[in-house]
């Protein structure tokens, strides 16, 4: 069959398919040019036409045109779009805590990096108070002192500031978490650097606040939101380390495949970290700055840590719903 006959014979079907694909791509509510049940069959005929056009040596333009239409049809027929809400529920009740437990080695490693750096700077600044200026920098040291040492600084805070700080915590903390996850891809180095840097910063800040005698305002401030915040940062680091290790030691897989598997395994943790940091920002902006008796703040803080530990360790243990 010559090309022109071929085109004449099938042009109607192609035009109809093209209209349908365009319709599907736009997701328009108007009725489709062909019944949706007829689409797969029409698409398969189009595939057949493309193969014929190639085999018979029809012009490159016609082949390119059919190829493009098959491609668009392929994208519509084989797309994968599961519902969001059931997935979110599954994430919270099973996938996230399970992933954290399954990858406990990496989260332990990032916790160790964070903890050791924190311990080091804490001891350093506690023994040699002047070191605070070297570790934290002078302006940061002074602003920490005014934030926690000066009662008027805290009482002067209004709801406008709460919202501003909420935005800042979201922007800053979640970006740090995402970056430490991504940085892990560089053989884990990026994740480790973020862990050590943040751990060191926290240790030095806490020790310095202790030194200047503002212990209570500081710890009543951080104890509640510290639970989700510090945990989330450490988990993000662990997820990043896992990526890096997949590249370094891929085991029985090709490096590329190992990296892909690791990314898929790490994703529930990244989702979870995101949600935890949202929660942390909320607590940090609207609960932590409230001036309440220390006993109240410490009990709420303890409850936060306990709930979080229980959530991560106990949720999703029933294997039946896997």
């Amino acid at each position: 069959m010559r090309q022109q006959q071929f085109e004449q014979r099938h042009a109607a079907l192609w035009q109809q398919l093209e209209a349908t694909v365009t319709h599907l791509e736009q997701g328009a509510p108007a009725p489709a040019p062909m019944p949706i049940a007829a689409f797969p069959e029409a698409y398969r005929r189009l595939c057949h036409h493309l193969a014929l056009a190639r085999q018979r040596g029809y012009s490159l333009a016609l082949v390119a045109q059919l190829n493009s239409l098959v491609l668009r049809g392929h994208r519509q027929l084989y797309q994968h779009r599961p519902a969001l809400l059931p997935r979110l529920r599954r994430l919270l009740t099973a996938d996230f805590p399970r992933a954290v437990r399954a990858q406990w080695r990496w989260h332990l490693a990032s916790t160790a990096a964070f903890g050791l750096a924190m311990l080091f700077t804490w001891v350093l600044v506690a023994m040699q108070p002047d070191m605070a200026y070297s570790v934290l920098g002078e302006s940061m040291t002074l602003s920490l002192e005014s934030m926690y040492g000066d009662a008027s600084f805290r009482s002067g805070r209004d709801s406008q500031d709460d919202v501003m700080m909420f935005g800042y915590y979201i922007y800053n903390n979640i970006s740090i978490a995402f970056r430490s996850f991504a940085g892990g891809l560089a053989f884990g180095i990026g994740a480790l650097v973020v862990m050590i840097f943040n751990g060191g910063f926290f240790g030095a800040a806490a020790a310095h606040i202790n030194n200047v005698g503002a212990t209570e305002p500081f710890f009543t401030f951080v104890v509640a939101h510290g639970a989700p915040e510090l945990t989330a940062i450490v988990l993000a680091g662990g997820a990043g380390l896992q990526l890096g290790m997949a590249v370094l030691a891929p085991g029985p897989y090709r490096r590329l495949d190992a990296l892909r598997h690791a990314a898929v395994r790490a994703l529930p943790v990244v989702y979870g970290v995101f949600l935890m940091l949202l929660l942390a920002a909320f607590i940090e902006a609207f609960w932590s700055p409230r001036d309440l008796p220390a006993a109240v703040k410490y009990s709420v803080g303890a409850a936060c840590w306990a709930l979080l530990a229980a959530y991560l360790l106990l949720t999703g243990r029933d294997g039946a719903r896997r």
Partner: protein
């Protein structure tokens, strides 16, 4: 073979060709998106600036959401196309040609940080040059490709031969141009088709058809020059006419 195409086979058993997008058009698309975000930030800064401290907080949230999730939103909701990619006719797809889902889109966009390292996408650029399919690290981990979106400006029609001309490089950039009907550039259309005077192979026939389809985009001098490659013994005009008639025969016109 080194080329910028990626071949996949559909479940129907048909090989499909994806045209891969290289670093430069991707960079242009990225800067377009960057510009769009910058405009949004400026507008938002102006509006939120009037509310004071809370406005700063809202602005920071907006910056956070757009910086991390702007590409994810568009890639998942708009067939793999951010506005910048759409402007340059590109789309993100899975390696099997299907649209990206949220998981792959998140992986490739979260890992953008590494591709940005140390500055100006240096890591991503080097990775794209090393990889045969122009994938940056995020694409490698997510299993995605950036391809030219499938669209063709050659309308399906059963009109006269040569009426729907198509120059392939054009299809990448203009998505819905009407097929430009061409004025008859010679009297070849009035002449009867002529069977090739040699046993034409598949490649020969394809070449003839391509000549017919592309002649609209070629200058008369170039057409004659090309035709003389087939018929060196004839003057350009006659060689072209001869070739046109044989192409018409192959195409099946009368």
């Amino acid at each position: 073979m080194i080329d910028d195409q990626h071949h996949i086979t559909t479940p129907e058993g048909v090989p499909l060709v994806l045209d891969l997008a290289g670093p430069l058009p991707r960079a242009l698309a990225y800067f377009t998106d960057l510009l769009i975000r910058a405009v949004i930030y400026l507008a938002a800064a102006f509006v939120f600036g009037m509310i004071g401290g809370a406005g700063t907080g809202l602005l920071l949230i907006l910056v956070f959401v757009l910086e991390w999730f702007y590409p994810v939103w568009f890639e998942v909701m708009r067939n793999g196309q951010t506005p910048g990619k759409k402007a340059f006719g590109m789309a993100v797809v899975h390696e099997d040609g299907t649209p990206v889902d949220i998981q792959a889109s998140l992986v490739r966009n979260l890992l953008r940080t590494v591709d940005l390292f140390p500055l100006l996408y240096l890591t991503g650029f080097i990775t794209m040059l090393l990889d045969s399919r122009f994938r940056r690290l995020g694409d490698l981990a997510a299993g995605t490709l950036v391809v030219y979106a499938a669209s063709s400006n050659r309308a399906f029609s059963n009109t006269l031969p040569g009426a729907a001309a198509d120059v392939r490089t054009d299809t990448r950039h203009s998505s819905h141009t009407a097929p430009h009907s061409i004025a008859p550039h010679s009297d070849a259309h009035t002449r009867p088709p002529l069977a090739p005077d040699w046993p034409a192979t598949l490649a020969d026939r394809q070449l003839l058809l391509t000549f017919l389809e592309r002649s609209a985009g070629l200058s008369p001098g170039r057409r004659g020059e090309l035709a003389q490659r087939a018929f060196p013994e004839l003057p350009p005009a006659q060689a072209e006419e001869q070739l046109q008639r044989m192409a018409l025969h192959v195409q099946g016109g009368r």
